[in-house]
Protein backbone atom coordinates (compact mmCIF):
# COMPACT_ATOMS: atom_id res chain seq x y z
CA UNK A 1 0.00 0.00 0.00
CA UNK A 2 1.55 3.28 -1.02
CA UNK A 3 -0.67 5.91 0.46
CA UNK A 4 -3.35 6.02 3.04
CA UNK A 5 -5.97 8.41 1.87
CA UNK A 6 -8.42 9.37 4.54
CA UNK A 7 -11.82 8.56 3.19
CA UNK A 8 -14.37 11.06 4.23
CA UNK A 9 -17.95 11.78 3.43
CA UNK A 10 -18.29 13.72 0.22
CA UNK A 11 -20.18 16.93 0.88
CA UNK A 12 -23.67 17.00 -0.51
CA UNK A 13 -23.67 19.04 -3.66
CA UNK A 14 -26.56 20.80 -5.21
CA UNK A 15 -27.61 19.38 -8.58
CA UNK A 16 -24.94 20.73 -10.84
CA UNK A 17 -25.22 20.87 -14.60
CA UNK A 18 -21.44 21.09 -14.61
CA UNK A 19 -21.08 17.70 -12.90
CA UNK A 20 -23.56 16.23 -15.40
CA UNK A 21 -21.66 17.76 -18.30
CA UNK A 22 -18.33 16.43 -17.07
CA UNK A 23 -19.81 12.93 -16.63
CA UNK A 24 -21.30 13.20 -20.14
CA UNK A 25 -17.94 14.25 -21.60
CA UNK A 26 -16.13 11.42 -19.82
CA UNK A 27 -18.66 8.85 -21.08
CA UNK A 28 -18.21 10.18 -24.60
CA UNK A 29 -14.44 10.05 -24.24
CA UNK A 30 -14.75 6.42 -23.14
CA UNK A 31 -16.84 5.51 -26.20
CA UNK A 32 -14.46 7.27 -28.58
CA UNK A 33 -11.50 5.52 -26.92
CA UNK A 34 -13.21 2.22 -27.58
CA UNK A 35 -13.80 3.27 -31.22
CA UNK A 36 -10.11 4.07 -31.53
CA UNK A 37 -9.26 0.59 -30.23
CA UNK A 38 -11.74 -0.97 -32.63
CA UNK A 39 -10.52 0.97 -35.64
CA UNK A 40 -8.94 -2.01 -37.34
CA UNK A 41 -12.33 -3.71 -37.36
CA UNK A 42 -14.35 -0.54 -37.83
CA UNK A 43 -12.60 0.61 -41.02
CA UNK A 44 -12.91 -2.55 -43.12
CA UNK A 45 -16.38 -3.13 -41.78
CA UNK A 46 -17.43 0.36 -42.86
CA UNK A 47 -15.66 0.39 -46.21
CA UNK A 48 -16.16 -3.14 -47.46
CA UNK A 49 -19.78 -2.99 -48.54
CA UNK A 50 -19.75 0.47 -50.20
CA UNK A 51 -16.52 -0.38 -52.01
CA UNK A 52 -17.96 -3.62 -53.35
CA UNK A 53 -21.23 -2.03 -54.35
CA UNK A 54 -19.40 0.73 -56.19
CA UNK A 55 -17.15 -1.79 -57.90
CA UNK A 56 -19.93 -4.14 -58.98
CA UNK A 57 -22.51 -1.50 -59.92
CA UNK A 58 -20.29 1.05 -61.62
CA UNK A 59 -17.49 -1.08 -63.03
CA UNK A 60 -18.61 -4.68 -63.49
CA UNK A 61 -22.22 -4.19 -64.53
CA UNK A 62 -21.63 -1.56 -67.23
CA UNK A 63 -18.90 -3.78 -68.71
CA UNK A 64 -20.95 -6.95 -68.79
CA UNK A 65 -24.02 -5.17 -70.12
CA UNK A 66 -26.10 -5.60 -66.98
CA UNK A 67 -28.99 -3.15 -67.11
CA UNK A 68 -28.66 -1.84 -63.56
CA UNK A 69 -28.31 1.89 -63.23
CA UNK A 70 -30.85 2.83 -65.84
CA UNK A 71 -30.80 2.58 -69.59
CA UNK A 72 -27.20 3.33 -70.28
CA UNK A 73 -27.11 6.33 -68.00
CA UNK A 74 -24.36 4.96 -65.76
CA UNK A 75 -23.12 8.40 -64.78
CA UNK A 76 -26.48 9.26 -63.36
CA UNK A 77 -26.50 5.98 -61.48
CA UNK A 78 -23.11 6.58 -59.84
CA UNK A 79 -24.35 10.01 -58.84
CA UNK A 80 -27.49 8.72 -57.16
CA UNK A 81 -25.64 5.79 -55.61
CA UNK A 82 -23.26 8.15 -53.81
CA UNK A 83 -26.02 9.66 -51.67
CA UNK A 84 -27.42 6.23 -50.90
CA UNK A 85 -24.04 4.77 -49.89
CA UNK A 86 -23.15 7.66 -47.59
CA UNK A 87 -26.60 7.43 -46.00
CA UNK A 88 -26.31 3.68 -45.58
CA UNK A 89 -22.89 3.86 -43.94
CA UNK A 90 -24.06 6.50 -41.49
CA UNK A 91 -27.27 4.64 -40.70
CA UNK A 92 -25.68 1.22 -40.24
CA UNK A 93 -22.69 2.35 -38.19
CA UNK A 94 -24.76 4.80 -36.15
CA UNK A 95 -27.35 2.14 -35.44
CA UNK A 96 -25.18 -0.91 -34.90
CA UNK A 97 -22.36 0.76 -32.96
CA UNK A 98 -25.02 1.70 -30.40
CA UNK A 99 -27.39 -1.27 -30.51
CA UNK A 100 -24.94 -4.20 -30.53
CA UNK A 101 -22.74 -3.30 -27.53
CA UNK A 102 -25.80 -2.15 -25.63
CA UNK A 103 -27.71 -5.39 -26.15
CA UNK A 104 -24.67 -7.34 -24.96
CA UNK A 105 -23.87 -5.07 -22.02
CA UNK A 106 -27.44 -4.91 -20.79
CA UNK A 107 -28.29 -8.53 -21.28
CA UNK A 108 -25.18 -10.57 -20.64
CA UNK A 109 -22.07 -8.84 -19.37
CA UNK A 110 -23.43 -6.26 -16.89
CA UNK A 111 -20.50 -4.08 -17.84
CA UNK A 112 -22.66 -0.99 -18.26
CA UNK A 113 -23.01 -0.89 -14.45
CA UNK A 114 -20.18 1.52 -13.77
CA UNK A 115 -21.41 3.97 -16.39
CA UNK A 116 -24.98 3.77 -15.14
CA UNK A 117 -23.66 4.72 -11.71
CA UNK A 118 -21.88 7.80 -13.12
CA UNK A 119 -23.11 10.77 -11.09
CA UNK A 120 -25.62 12.14 -13.56
CA UNK A 121 -29.20 11.47 -14.64
CA UNK A 122 -29.98 8.19 -16.40
CA UNK A 123 -31.37 10.13 -19.36
CA UNK A 124 -28.01 11.92 -19.76
CA UNK A 125 -26.25 8.54 -19.86
CA UNK A 126 -28.72 7.33 -22.50
CA UNK A 127 -28.37 10.55 -24.48
CA UNK A 128 -24.59 10.16 -24.47
CA UNK A 129 -25.06 6.81 -26.22
CA UNK A 130 -26.91 8.61 -29.01
CA UNK A 131 -24.26 11.29 -29.37
CA UNK A 132 -21.45 8.70 -29.38
CA UNK A 133 -23.30 6.66 -32.03
CA UNK A 134 -23.96 9.78 -34.10
CA UNK A 135 -20.26 10.69 -34.08
CA UNK A 136 -19.35 7.17 -35.19
CA UNK A 137 -21.96 7.39 -37.94
CA UNK A 138 -20.47 10.70 -39.05
CA UNK A 139 -17.01 9.17 -39.10
CA UNK A 140 -18.32 6.29 -41.23
CA UNK A 141 -19.96 8.74 -43.65
CA UNK A 142 -16.73 10.73 -43.98
CA UNK A 143 -14.62 7.71 -44.85
CA UNK A 144 -17.17 6.30 -47.28
CA UNK A 145 -17.66 9.56 -49.15
CA UNK A 146 -14.32 9.43 -51.04
CA UNK A 147 -14.93 5.79 -51.92
CA UNK A 148 -18.36 6.56 -53.34
CA UNK A 149 -17.19 9.78 -54.99
CA UNK A 150 -13.89 8.79 -56.55
CA UNK A 151 -13.92 5.03 -56.97
CA UNK A 152 -16.70 4.72 -59.58
CA UNK A 153 -15.26 4.28 -63.03
CA UNK A 154 -18.18 6.21 -64.45
CA UNK A 155 -18.59 10.00 -64.27
CA UNK A 156 -20.22 11.44 -61.18
CA UNK A 157 -21.88 14.84 -60.97
CA UNK A 158 -21.58 16.53 -57.63
CA UNK A 159 -22.21 19.96 -56.20
CA UNK A 160 -22.41 20.52 -52.48
CA UNK A 161 -25.28 22.51 -50.99
CA UNK A 162 -23.44 23.09 -47.76
CA UNK A 163 -26.27 24.13 -45.49
CA UNK A 164 -28.42 21.22 -46.68
CA UNK A 165 -25.47 18.87 -46.35
CA UNK A 166 -24.81 19.91 -42.74
CA UNK A 167 -28.47 19.63 -41.73
CA UNK A 168 -28.99 16.26 -43.43
CA UNK A 169 -25.73 14.88 -42.03
CA UNK A 170 -26.50 15.93 -38.46
CA UNK A 171 -30.06 14.62 -38.59
CA UNK A 172 -29.08 11.35 -40.29
CA UNK A 173 -26.32 10.62 -37.79
CA UNK A 174 -28.53 11.49 -34.86
CA UNK A 175 -31.62 9.59 -36.01
CA UNK A 176 -29.56 6.45 -36.77
CA UNK A 177 -27.92 6.40 -33.35
CA UNK A 178 -31.23 7.10 -31.60
CA UNK A 179 -32.73 4.18 -33.53
CA UNK A 180 -29.78 2.13 -32.28
CA UNK A 181 -30.63 3.06 -28.70
CA UNK A 182 -34.28 2.20 -29.30
CA UNK A 183 -33.41 -1.22 -30.70
CA UNK A 184 -30.46 -1.97 -28.40
CA UNK A 185 -32.57 -1.48 -25.28
CA UNK A 186 -35.32 -3.74 -26.58
CA UNK A 187 -33.57 -6.72 -28.07
CA UNK A 188 -32.18 -9.71 -26.22
CA UNK A 189 -28.53 -10.33 -26.94
CA UNK A 190 -29.28 -13.81 -28.31
CA UNK A 191 -31.58 -12.26 -30.92
CA UNK A 192 -29.00 -9.82 -32.24
CA UNK A 193 -28.29 -11.91 -35.38
CA UNK A 194 -31.86 -11.37 -36.57
CA UNK A 195 -31.15 -7.63 -36.77
CA UNK A 196 -29.46 -8.27 -40.09
CA UNK A 197 -32.53 -9.88 -41.60
CA UNK A 198 -35.22 -7.84 -39.93
CA UNK A 199 -33.61 -4.42 -39.66
CA UNK A 200 -30.55 -3.98 -41.87
CA UNK A 201 -31.92 -5.60 -45.03
CA UNK A 202 -35.32 -3.81 -45.09
CA UNK A 203 -33.67 -0.52 -44.16
CA UNK A 204 -31.17 -0.94 -46.98
CA UNK A 205 -33.26 -2.42 -49.77
CA UNK A 206 -36.19 -0.09 -49.16
CA UNK A 207 -34.05 2.90 -48.20
CA UNK A 208 -33.64 4.24 -51.75
CA UNK A 209 -29.94 3.48 -51.91
CA UNK A 210 -29.95 2.10 -55.47
CA UNK A 211 -32.90 4.08 -56.78
CA UNK A 212 -34.61 7.36 -56.06
CA UNK A 213 -37.92 7.54 -54.27
CA UNK A 214 -39.40 9.21 -57.35
CA UNK A 215 -38.43 6.20 -59.46
CA UNK A 216 -40.87 4.07 -57.46
CA UNK A 217 -43.82 5.92 -59.00
CA UNK A 218 -44.85 2.92 -61.14
CA UNK A 219 -45.31 0.89 -57.92
CA UNK A 220 -47.59 3.21 -55.97
CA UNK A 221 -48.08 1.00 -52.89
CA UNK A 222 -44.34 0.52 -52.47
CA UNK A 223 -43.71 4.21 -52.91
CA UNK A 224 -46.12 4.84 -50.01
CA UNK A 225 -44.88 1.94 -47.87
CA UNK A 226 -41.21 2.98 -47.91
CA UNK A 227 -42.15 6.29 -46.30
CA UNK A 228 -41.91 4.58 -42.89
CA UNK A 229 -38.22 3.84 -43.54
CA UNK A 230 -35.98 6.51 -41.99
CA UNK A 231 -33.14 5.61 -44.32
CA UNK A 232 -35.24 6.74 -47.29
CA UNK A 233 -35.02 10.33 -46.10
CA UNK A 234 -31.30 10.05 -45.47
CA UNK A 235 -30.57 8.79 -49.00
CA UNK A 236 -32.86 11.39 -50.54
CA UNK A 237 -31.34 14.05 -48.28
CA UNK A 238 -27.78 13.32 -49.35
CA UNK A 239 -28.86 13.39 -52.99
CA UNK A 240 -30.52 16.74 -52.38
CA UNK A 241 -27.32 18.00 -50.79
CA UNK A 242 -24.76 16.57 -53.22
CA UNK A 243 -26.06 15.40 -56.56
CA UNK A 244 -26.78 17.23 -59.75
CA UNK A 245 -29.54 16.10 -62.04
CA UNK A 246 -31.11 13.57 -59.70
CA UNK A 247 -34.73 14.01 -58.67
CA UNK A 248 -35.32 13.96 -54.92
CA UNK A 249 -38.27 14.46 -52.61
CA UNK A 250 -38.93 18.00 -51.33
CA UNK A 251 -36.26 19.13 -48.88
CA UNK A 252 -38.88 20.21 -46.33
CA UNK A 253 -40.30 16.67 -46.25
CA UNK A 254 -36.81 15.20 -45.83
CA UNK A 255 -35.83 17.48 -42.94
CA UNK A 256 -39.27 17.25 -41.35
CA UNK A 257 -39.28 13.44 -41.43
CA UNK A 258 -35.70 13.12 -40.14
CA UNK A 259 -36.48 15.54 -37.30
CA UNK A 260 -39.63 13.61 -36.41
CA UNK A 261 -37.74 10.29 -36.44
CA UNK A 262 -34.99 11.83 -34.28
CA UNK A 263 -37.49 12.97 -31.68
CA UNK A 264 -39.42 9.70 -31.76
CA UNK A 265 -36.33 7.49 -31.41
CA UNK A 266 -34.88 9.70 -28.67
CA UNK A 267 -38.04 9.36 -26.61
CA UNK A 268 -38.31 5.61 -27.25
CA UNK A 269 -34.58 5.05 -26.73
CA UNK A 270 -34.31 6.91 -23.43
CA UNK A 271 -37.51 5.27 -22.21
CA UNK A 272 -36.14 1.85 -23.17
CA UNK A 273 -32.82 2.57 -21.48
CA UNK A 274 -34.49 3.62 -18.23
CA UNK A 275 -36.64 0.53 -18.29
CA UNK A 276 -33.60 -1.67 -18.59
CA UNK A 277 -31.36 -0.10 -15.96
CA UNK A 278 -33.95 0.86 -13.35
CA UNK A 279 -36.49 -1.43 -11.75
Amino acid sequence: MTTTVPIDAVPVESPSPRASWSAFRALLLRDLTVLDKDLKEFLPNTLMQPAMLVFVFTYVFPRIGQGIGGSGNVGRFSTLLLGGLVAQSIAFQGLFRVALPLARELDITNELEDRVLAPTHISVIAFEKIVAGALQGLFAGLIVFPVAAFLPSTPIYLRAHWSTLVIVTVLSCYASAALGLTIGTRIEARLVPILVGFVALPLGFFGAIFYTWDALTPIGWLKAAVLINPMLYMSEGFRAALSIGVVHMPLGAIIGALTAFSVLFTVLGIRGFKKRVLS
Binding site: T4, V5, D8, A9, A23, V34, N110, E111, R115, A118
Partner: protein, 328 residues
Protein backbone atom coordinates in the same frame (compact mmCIF):
# COMPACT_ATOMS: atom_id res chain seq x y z
CA UNK B 1 -35.59 -6.46 16.94
CA UNK B 2 -33.24 -4.25 18.80
CA UNK B 3 -32.18 -0.99 17.21
CA UNK B 4 -31.71 1.06 20.35
CA UNK B 5 -28.51 2.92 21.03
CA UNK B 6 -27.13 0.21 23.33
CA UNK B 7 -26.43 -2.03 20.36
CA UNK B 8 -24.63 0.59 18.29
CA UNK B 9 -20.88 0.79 18.86
CA UNK B 10 -20.01 3.87 20.80
CA UNK B 11 -17.90 5.50 18.10
CA UNK B 12 -20.60 4.93 15.51
CA UNK B 13 -23.28 6.26 17.84
CA UNK B 14 -21.62 9.65 17.80
CA UNK B 15 -21.06 9.73 14.06
CA UNK B 16 -23.57 11.18 11.61
CA UNK B 17 -26.01 8.90 9.83
CA UNK B 18 -24.86 7.88 6.35
CA UNK B 19 -27.70 5.55 5.46
CA UNK B 20 -31.19 5.99 6.78
CA UNK B 21 -34.38 4.30 5.64
CA UNK B 22 -37.91 4.56 6.97
CA UNK B 23 -40.61 2.14 5.91
CA UNK B 24 -38.67 1.37 2.76
CA UNK B 25 -40.71 -0.99 0.60
CA UNK B 26 -40.35 -2.47 -2.84
CA UNK B 27 -43.10 -4.37 -4.56
CA UNK B 28 -42.19 -5.60 -8.02
CA UNK B 29 -45.16 -4.88 -10.26
CA UNK B 30 -45.38 -5.95 -13.85
CA UNK B 31 -47.08 -8.29 -16.18
CA UNK B 32 -44.89 -11.31 -15.76
CA UNK B 33 -41.59 -12.62 -14.55
CA UNK B 34 -40.71 -14.34 -11.34
CA UNK B 35 -40.71 -11.17 -9.27
CA UNK B 36 -44.24 -10.13 -10.20
CA UNK B 37 -46.28 -8.91 -7.24
CA UNK B 38 -43.49 -9.83 -4.87
CA UNK B 39 -42.93 -7.65 -1.80
CA UNK B 40 -39.16 -7.88 -2.02
CA UNK B 41 -38.53 -5.39 0.77
CA UNK B 42 -41.20 -4.73 3.34
CA UNK B 43 -41.11 -1.62 5.51
CA UNK B 44 -37.39 -1.53 6.17
CA UNK B 45 -36.08 0.81 8.87
CA UNK B 46 -32.34 1.05 8.83
CA UNK B 47 -29.72 3.41 10.18
CA UNK B 48 -26.03 3.11 9.40
CA UNK B 49 -23.60 5.65 10.80
CA UNK B 50 -20.34 6.90 9.46
CA UNK B 51 -17.45 4.52 9.96
CA UNK B 52 -19.71 1.56 10.57
CA UNK B 53 -19.41 -1.81 8.84
CA UNK B 54 -22.94 -3.04 8.46
CA UNK B 55 -23.81 -6.52 7.25
CA UNK B 56 -27.04 -7.65 5.63
CA UNK B 57 -27.49 -11.40 5.93
CA UNK B 58 -30.29 -13.46 4.57
CA UNK B 59 -31.14 -16.40 2.33
CA UNK B 60 -31.61 -15.93 -1.41
CA UNK B 61 -34.64 -13.78 -2.09
CA UNK B 62 -34.54 -12.18 1.37
CA UNK B 63 -34.43 -8.70 -0.14
CA UNK B 64 -30.76 -7.87 0.42
CA UNK B 65 -29.90 -7.06 -3.16
CA UNK B 66 -33.14 -5.13 -3.65
CA UNK B 67 -32.27 -3.08 -0.56
CA UNK B 68 -28.84 -2.33 -1.95
CA UNK B 69 -30.48 -1.59 -5.32
CA UNK B 70 -32.72 1.05 -3.76
CA UNK B 71 -29.89 2.63 -1.80
CA UNK B 72 -27.77 2.80 -4.95
CA UNK B 73 -30.59 4.38 -7.03
CA UNK B 74 -31.07 1.39 -9.33
CA UNK B 75 -34.31 0.13 -7.84
CA UNK B 76 -37.10 2.64 -7.34
CA UNK B 77 -38.83 2.19 -3.98
CA UNK B 78 -42.60 1.60 -3.98
CA UNK B 79 -42.95 3.51 -0.71
CA UNK B 80 -40.95 4.75 2.23
CA UNK B 81 -37.93 7.01 2.39
CA UNK B 82 -34.25 6.27 1.91
CA UNK B 83 -31.43 8.73 2.34
CA UNK B 84 -27.76 8.24 1.65
CA UNK B 85 -25.42 10.87 3.07
CA UNK B 86 -28.50 12.96 3.78
CA UNK B 87 -29.72 12.88 0.18
CA UNK B 88 -33.03 11.34 -0.85
CA UNK B 89 -32.34 8.48 -3.28
CA UNK B 90 -35.54 9.03 -5.26
CA UNK B 91 -35.42 12.82 -5.49
CA UNK B 92 -31.71 13.24 -6.28
CA UNK B 93 -30.13 10.11 -7.78
CA UNK B 94 -27.12 11.94 -9.31
CA UNK B 95 -26.04 13.34 -5.93
CA UNK B 96 -26.51 9.97 -4.28
CA UNK B 97 -24.45 8.28 -7.00
CA UNK B 98 -21.75 10.87 -6.38
CA UNK B 99 -21.23 9.70 -2.79
CA UNK B 100 -21.50 5.92 -3.16
CA UNK B 101 -19.20 3.19 -4.42
CA UNK B 102 -20.66 -0.14 -5.47
CA UNK B 103 -19.11 -3.58 -5.89
CA UNK B 104 -21.51 -6.07 -7.42
CA UNK B 105 -21.49 -9.80 -7.02
CA UNK B 106 -21.04 -10.15 -10.78
CA UNK B 107 -18.07 -8.94 -12.76
CA UNK B 108 -19.12 -5.50 -13.99
CA UNK B 109 -15.75 -4.38 -15.32
CA UNK B 110 -15.76 -2.62 -18.68
CA UNK B 111 -14.42 -5.31 -21.00
CA UNK B 112 -13.69 -2.85 -23.79
CA UNK B 113 -11.10 -1.17 -21.58
CA UNK B 114 -7.98 -2.48 -19.87
CA UNK B 115 -7.51 -2.56 -16.09
CA UNK B 116 -5.93 0.88 -15.85
CA UNK B 117 -8.51 2.44 -18.15
CA UNK B 118 -11.34 1.02 -16.03
CA UNK B 119 -10.00 3.09 -13.13
CA UNK B 120 -9.05 6.13 -15.19
CA UNK B 121 -12.45 6.51 -16.85
CA UNK B 122 -14.21 5.87 -13.55
CA UNK B 123 -12.35 8.86 -12.13
CA UNK B 124 -13.34 10.92 -15.15
CA UNK B 125 -17.02 9.98 -14.77
CA UNK B 126 -16.77 11.49 -11.29
CA UNK B 127 -15.43 14.75 -12.62
CA UNK B 128 -11.71 14.25 -11.98
CA UNK B 129 -9.46 16.14 -14.37
CA UNK B 130 -7.34 13.90 -16.62
CA UNK B 131 -4.16 14.29 -14.58
CA UNK B 132 -5.84 13.54 -11.24
CA UNK B 133 -7.63 10.53 -12.73
CA UNK B 134 -4.37 9.18 -14.17
CA UNK B 135 -2.68 9.55 -10.81
CA UNK B 136 -5.59 7.98 -8.94
CA UNK B 137 -5.63 5.03 -11.35
CA UNK B 138 -1.90 4.45 -10.84
CA UNK B 139 -2.23 4.68 -7.07
CA UNK B 140 -5.18 2.34 -6.86
CA UNK B 141 -3.46 -0.29 -9.00
CA UNK B 142 -0.42 -0.10 -6.76
CA UNK B 143 -2.49 -0.23 -3.61
CA UNK B 144 -4.55 -3.20 -4.78
CA UNK B 145 -1.47 -5.06 -6.03
CA UNK B 146 -2.51 -4.92 -9.64
CA UNK B 147 0.18 -2.66 -11.14
CA UNK B 148 1.70 -5.56 -13.06
CA UNK B 149 -1.63 -6.04 -14.84
CA UNK B 150 -2.31 -2.36 -15.60
CA UNK B 151 -2.51 -2.85 -19.38
CA UNK B 152 -4.20 -6.25 -19.26
CA UNK B 153 -7.57 -6.71 -20.83
CA UNK B 154 -9.95 -7.27 -17.95
CA UNK B 155 -11.24 -10.54 -19.35
CA UNK B 156 -7.76 -12.00 -18.79
CA UNK B 157 -7.79 -11.21 -15.06
CA UNK B 158 -8.48 -13.98 -12.56
CA UNK B 159 -11.67 -13.85 -10.50
CA UNK B 160 -9.78 -12.53 -7.49
CA UNK B 161 -7.98 -9.84 -9.46
CA UNK B 162 -11.19 -8.75 -11.14
CA UNK B 163 -12.90 -8.39 -7.77
CA UNK B 164 -9.95 -6.41 -6.39
CA UNK B 165 -10.10 -4.15 -9.41
CA UNK B 166 -13.82 -3.64 -8.83
CA UNK B 167 -13.16 -2.63 -5.22
CA UNK B 168 -10.32 -0.35 -6.36
CA UNK B 169 -12.71 1.27 -8.82
CA UNK B 170 -15.51 1.61 -6.27
CA UNK B 171 -13.37 3.50 -3.74
CA UNK B 172 -11.38 5.56 -6.26
CA UNK B 173 -13.65 8.58 -5.95
CA UNK B 174 -13.63 8.28 -2.13
CA UNK B 175 -17.30 7.52 -1.58
CA UNK B 176 -19.05 8.28 1.69
CA UNK B 177 -20.38 4.74 1.70
CA UNK B 178 -19.20 1.60 -0.03
CA UNK B 179 -21.73 -1.08 -0.97
CA UNK B 180 -20.40 -4.60 -1.29
CA UNK B 181 -22.93 -7.07 -2.65
CA UNK B 182 -21.61 -10.58 -1.97
CA UNK B 183 -18.03 -9.37 -2.42
CA UNK B 184 -16.40 -12.78 -2.08
CA UNK B 185 -18.99 -14.85 -3.92
CA UNK B 186 -17.41 -17.42 -6.25
CA UNK B 187 -13.85 -16.61 -5.19
CA UNK B 188 -11.37 -19.31 -4.24
CA UNK B 189 -10.15 -19.32 -0.60
CA UNK B 190 -6.87 -17.55 -1.41
CA UNK B 191 -8.62 -14.80 -3.34
CA UNK B 192 -11.17 -14.41 -0.57
CA UNK B 193 -8.36 -13.97 1.93
CA UNK B 194 -6.58 -11.42 -0.26
CA UNK B 195 -9.80 -9.49 -0.74
CA UNK B 196 -10.50 -9.44 3.00
CA UNK B 197 -6.99 -8.11 3.65
CA UNK B 198 -7.80 -5.23 1.36
CA UNK B 199 -11.23 -4.65 2.86
CA UNK B 200 -9.60 -4.58 6.29
CA UNK B 201 -7.28 -1.84 5.07
CA UNK B 202 -10.19 0.15 3.76
CA UNK B 203 -12.03 -0.40 7.00
CA UNK B 204 -9.18 0.94 9.11
CA UNK B 205 -9.34 4.14 7.10
CA UNK B 206 -12.84 4.68 8.43
CA UNK B 207 -14.75 3.80 5.28
CA UNK B 208 -18.44 3.20 5.92
CA UNK B 209 -19.42 -0.12 4.38
CA UNK B 210 -22.70 -1.88 3.83
CA UNK B 211 -22.19 -5.44 2.73
CA UNK B 212 -24.39 -8.37 1.95
CA UNK B 213 -22.98 -11.84 2.31
CA UNK B 214 -23.81 -15.52 2.66
CA UNK B 215 -20.60 -16.19 4.55
CA UNK B 216 -21.45 -16.02 8.23
CA UNK B 217 -17.87 -16.14 9.42
CA UNK B 218 -17.06 -13.14 7.26
CA UNK B 219 -19.95 -11.15 8.65
CA UNK B 220 -18.97 -12.18 12.15
CA UNK B 221 -15.37 -11.16 11.77
CA UNK B 222 -15.90 -8.00 9.78
CA UNK B 223 -19.17 -6.32 10.71
CA UNK B 224 -19.90 -3.97 13.56
CA UNK B 225 -23.58 -4.73 13.24
CA UNK B 226 -25.53 -7.31 11.34
CA UNK B 227 -29.13 -7.36 10.20
CA UNK B 228 -30.63 -10.75 9.42
CA UNK B 229 -33.25 -10.38 6.72
CA UNK B 230 -35.88 -12.68 5.37
CA UNK B 231 -38.96 -12.08 3.23
CA UNK B 232 -38.04 -8.40 2.96
CA UNK B 233 -38.02 -7.78 6.69
CA UNK B 234 -35.33 -7.49 9.32
CA UNK B 235 -35.63 -10.36 11.78
CA UNK B 236 -32.77 -9.33 14.03
CA UNK B 237 -30.35 -6.46 14.11
CA UNK B 238 -27.46 -6.26 16.52
CA UNK B 239 -23.73 -6.75 16.95
CA UNK B 240 -22.63 -10.27 16.03
CA UNK B 241 -21.80 -10.96 19.70
CA UNK B 242 -25.22 -9.87 20.94
CA UNK B 243 -26.96 -11.88 18.24
CA UNK B 244 -25.06 -14.98 19.26
CA UNK B 245 -25.87 -14.38 22.93
CA UNK B 246 -29.54 -14.06 22.10
CA UNK B 247 -29.57 -17.52 20.56
CA UNK B 248 -27.20 -19.00 23.16
CA UNK B 249 -29.82 -18.13 25.72
CA UNK B 250 -32.40 -20.10 23.88
CA UNK B 251 -33.06 -23.77 23.65
CA UNK B 252 -30.79 -24.58 20.72
CA UNK B 253 -27.48 -25.25 22.45
CA UNK B 254 -28.55 -26.85 25.66
CA UNK B 255 -31.04 -29.11 23.97
CA UNK B 256 -28.31 -30.34 21.62
CA UNK B 257 -26.02 -31.11 24.53
CA UNK B 258 -28.86 -32.81 26.40
CA UNK B 259 -29.71 -34.89 23.38
CA UNK B 260 -26.13 -36.08 23.19
CA UNK B 261 -25.99 -36.91 26.83
CA UNK B 262 -29.25 -38.85 26.62
CA UNK B 263 -27.92 -40.80 23.72
CA UNK B 264 -24.69 -41.55 25.48
CA UNK B 265 -26.52 -42.48 28.68
CA UNK B 266 -28.59 -44.93 26.78
CA UNK B 267 -25.47 -46.52 25.41
CA UNK B 268 -23.59 -46.68 28.68
CA UNK B 269 -25.20 -46.33 32.05
CA UNK B 270 -21.85 -45.35 33.50
CA UNK B 271 -22.40 -41.76 32.50
CA UNK B 272 -24.19 -39.94 35.29
CA UNK B 273 -23.79 -36.28 34.78
CA UNK B 274 -25.35 -33.97 37.26
CA UNK B 275 -25.15 -31.42 34.58
CA UNK B 276 -28.14 -30.95 32.38
CA UNK B 277 -26.87 -27.79 30.76
CA UNK B 278 -29.42 -25.62 32.45
CA UNK B 279 -30.74 -22.69 30.46
CA UNK B 280 -27.65 -20.58 30.63
CA UNK B 281 -25.88 -19.00 27.68
CA UNK B 282 -23.15 -20.83 25.88
CA UNK B 283 -20.33 -19.37 27.96
CA UNK B 284 -22.05 -20.83 31.02
CA UNK B 285 -19.58 -23.27 32.61
CA UNK B 286 -22.44 -25.71 33.06
CA UNK B 287 -22.83 -26.12 29.34
CA UNK B 288 -19.11 -26.24 28.87
CA UNK B 289 -18.84 -28.93 31.52
CA UNK B 290 -21.66 -30.84 29.88
CA UNK B 291 -19.77 -30.79 26.63
CA UNK B 292 -16.64 -32.04 28.38
CA UNK B 293 -18.77 -34.77 29.86
CA UNK B 294 -19.92 -35.75 26.40
CA UNK B 295 -16.32 -35.98 25.25
CA UNK B 296 -15.33 -38.00 28.29
CA UNK B 297 -18.30 -40.32 27.87
CA UNK B 298 -17.49 -40.86 24.23
CA UNK B 299 -13.94 -41.62 25.19
CA UNK B 300 -15.02 -44.26 27.74
CA UNK B 301 -17.17 -45.85 25.08
CA UNK B 302 -14.34 -45.86 22.63
CA UNK B 303 -16.19 -43.60 20.22
CA UNK B 304 -14.32 -41.24 17.97
CA UNK B 305 -15.67 -37.72 17.93
CA UNK B 306 -14.89 -36.12 14.59
CA UNK B 307 -15.60 -32.61 15.73
CA UNK B 308 -16.58 -30.95 18.96
CA UNK B 309 -17.50 -27.33 18.71
CA UNK B 310 -18.18 -24.92 21.45
CA UNK B 311 -20.01 -21.70 20.81
CA UNK B 312 -22.81 -20.35 18.73
CA UNK B 313 -21.84 -19.04 15.34
CA UNK B 314 -23.76 -16.45 13.42
CA UNK B 315 -24.84 -19.37 11.27
CA UNK B 316 -26.73 -20.82 14.24
CA UNK B 317 -28.49 -17.49 14.65
CA UNK B 318 -29.19 -17.39 10.95
CA UNK B 319 -30.77 -20.84 10.83
CA UNK B 320 -32.64 -20.18 14.03
CA UNK B 321 -34.27 -17.12 12.48
CA UNK B 322 -34.68 -18.10 8.85
CA UNK B 323 -35.13 -21.85 9.11
CA UNK B 324 -33.31 -24.62 7.30
CA UNK B 325 -35.64 -25.03 4.36
CA UNK B 326 -34.20 -24.78 0.91
CA UNK B 327 -35.37 -21.56 -0.74
CA UNK B 328 -34.99 -22.23 -4.41
Amino acid sequence: MSTDSRTVPRAARLAPEVISTTGLTKVYPGTGGRRQGLKAVDGLDLSVRRGEIFGLLGPNGAGKTTTVGMLTTRVIPSSGVAEVNGVDVVAHPPQVKRCIGVVHQLNTLDRSLNAWENLYFHGRYYGMPAKAARQAADEQLERFRLSHRARSEVRTLSGGMARRLMVARAVLHRPAVLFLDEPTASLDPQSRLALWDILEEIRTEGQTILLTTHYMEEAEAFCDRVAIMDHGRILALDTPASLKRSVGNGKGTTSTVRAWLTRLRAEARSVEPELDGGDGPLDDPTVEAALLEVVAAADRLGLNLDDVRRGVTLETVFFELTGRDLRE
